[in-house]
Symmetry: C2
Subunit: 320 residues, 2 copies
């Protein structure tokens, strides 16, 4: 069963308005934003990843969903499966603690279990944020909106590729893969102005398609303007292949926001050093997702991003 | 690492008042009761258990924690690891849906992942309840309080023993093991009158010791009055050995409440058929837990209950 099939079944159960149609990776209950992400060894992290970074990443990926709704971190519940390796487990908890402290997230509960011997490690975190005055959903994008991206693309996927080639690889890209930074301040600044917002976790192209689909509009992305870091360009260059890699790699934890074309998010009070770029447009007509480069159309690649499955980077084309 | 050691480390992280010192299996945030339970194949359920019953049980064990705080079910987030067996997974979701519908719990979100091939199934649920006017914690028990128990003991452990002897076993005890019923209405009725309350999930003796420890008092239990079902007595008899089995078996999802000795919970409006029995007393002096039968002291058994570890019923003696 594909993740998408399971979600179809879950949508028939999750009929409460608080579920937001399961379209947003978050729920909204009593002014609280609720989200849960689980990670498994060999799927979402490498057995060789430092355990403290695994703990950090579990918190950060949840907070990225909180950021995408413009909310403020409040509390978290941890599902901790003891691995039988005390040193590993304690270091993992150090990473959980560091991330919680960094972002003001109070660990308030959870569950501790053991898995059968030899089972891959699995962890989960439920993060709860307090909503601000506006909660931009995926479905709010409108004809004519400008698509803005906060953060750079491809760093994490490039870091993972380095680690897959050499488990002892180090450097900026590896660091970004292991310790993503949720865009909380930018999310809070953008939320009151965004018609729609989500985080980019599975790849820009697949996630943009999801926003367009939820909003009932078409999205167009200009590949030439995608924000790439200096470390990424040094590793992969900035040619068409590298740009497509960045647009489909995933694990970016960037923010994608649909704003009125008259809005200028560059005037907002964003944290210094924030990368924010206008990457495309929403429109009423056309295919769900189209790409341009040098002013010319570019065919969609076979792989738009990934669903998290047994294979860390299984290709998937959304057939909708 | 034992579960108890991990919890000690987690307590140093979870310093927010909302965490309630991680003493209650639940947190309290903005009038909401938050809890999370995870279950793993081969630890918390049997590979041969019907998948719909596994889904039901995951919801029910979480709602038992909600019941113990006198709260009303509101919303849940599901961590769903796809097993690769579509029929199993869909039936599991049928069980989730049935339990959510039965208890008015709205599924509002979660995460769907795949595990590496061959990994044991692991699921998690975060349940959220709306607190009533009173939220009885474990730590509120007082010298002189009467200990009351809602529900019967030992049925589930007896059902598990039947299944371990014969995976095709059926009957009332097997049903109780597979489809526990959270005592929500009784929890709501008792909460305004209870000084302390918790659910009995790991075994009456270990859980009572935890309540006594959290409250800074001693607990005494009269083994002769422990409530046993007719099905349990038919299977195991009601002798001393059977009573000790019932007091330590776990998976009961009964409620344990400490009430003022003047309170009479039999006068409360409880659902018809509710079993509620006074089983003991809290006092300022004495060992953390003591047992009596026929008016005479009974030594504590080596095994007071179980922590959930790789071995489904690993013995543990709380050393505090």
């Amino acid at each position: 069963m594909r993740e998408s099939q399971a979600i179809q079944r879950l949508r028939r159960i999750a009929t409460s308005p608080a579920a937001l149609g399961l379209a947003d990776d978050t729920a909204l209950l009593d002014g609280l934003i609720l989200t849960h992400d689980s990670i498994a060894e060999g799927v979402h992290f490498l057995p060789s990843d430092p355990p403290a970074s695994v703990g950090w990443k579990l918190v950060a990926v949840n907070l990225s969903d909180i950021a995408a709704k413009g909310a403020t971190p409040a509390a978290a519940l941890l599902s901790l499966a003891l691995s039988g390796d005390d040193v590993w487990d304690m270091s993992f908890l150090d990473g959980i603690e560091a991330a919680c402290e960094s972002y003001g997230l109070a660990l308030v509960g959870g569950d501790t279990i053991a898995l059968p011997a030899g089972a891959p490690r699995v962890f989960g975190l439920t993060a709860i944020g307090r909503a601000g005055e506006a909660v931009p959903l995926r479905r709010g994008g409108r004809d004519g909106d400008a698509l803005w991206l906060v953060g750079t693309l491809g760093d994490s996927a490039a870091g993972l590729a380095l680690l897959e080639a050499d488990a002892a690889a180090t450097g900026v890209l590896v660091d970004v893969y292991r310790r993503p930074v949720p865009q909380l301040a930018a999310g809070q600044a953008l939320a009151p102005h965004a018609h729609a917002m989500m985080d980019v976790s599975d790849g820009l192209l697949i996630d943009t398609m999801r926003l367009a689909e939820a909003s009932g509009v078409s999205a167009s992305i200009d590949l030439d303007v995608l924000p790439l870091s200096r470390a990424f360009v040094a590793e992969r260059s900035a040619d068409a292949e590298a740009r497509m890699f960045a647009a489909t790699g995933g694990d970016d934890y960037a923010l994608l926001a649909a704003l009125d074309p008259e809005s200028d998010p560059l005037r907002l009070s964003l944290p210094s050093g924030t990368t924010i770029v206008r990457i495309g447009t929403l429109s009423a007509e056309g295919p769900l997702l189209s790409l341009v480069s040098g002013g010319s159309p570019v065919p969609l690649p076979e792989r738009l991003g990934h669903e998290h499955r047994s294979n860390p980077a299984s290709p998937v084309v959304d057939s909708d």
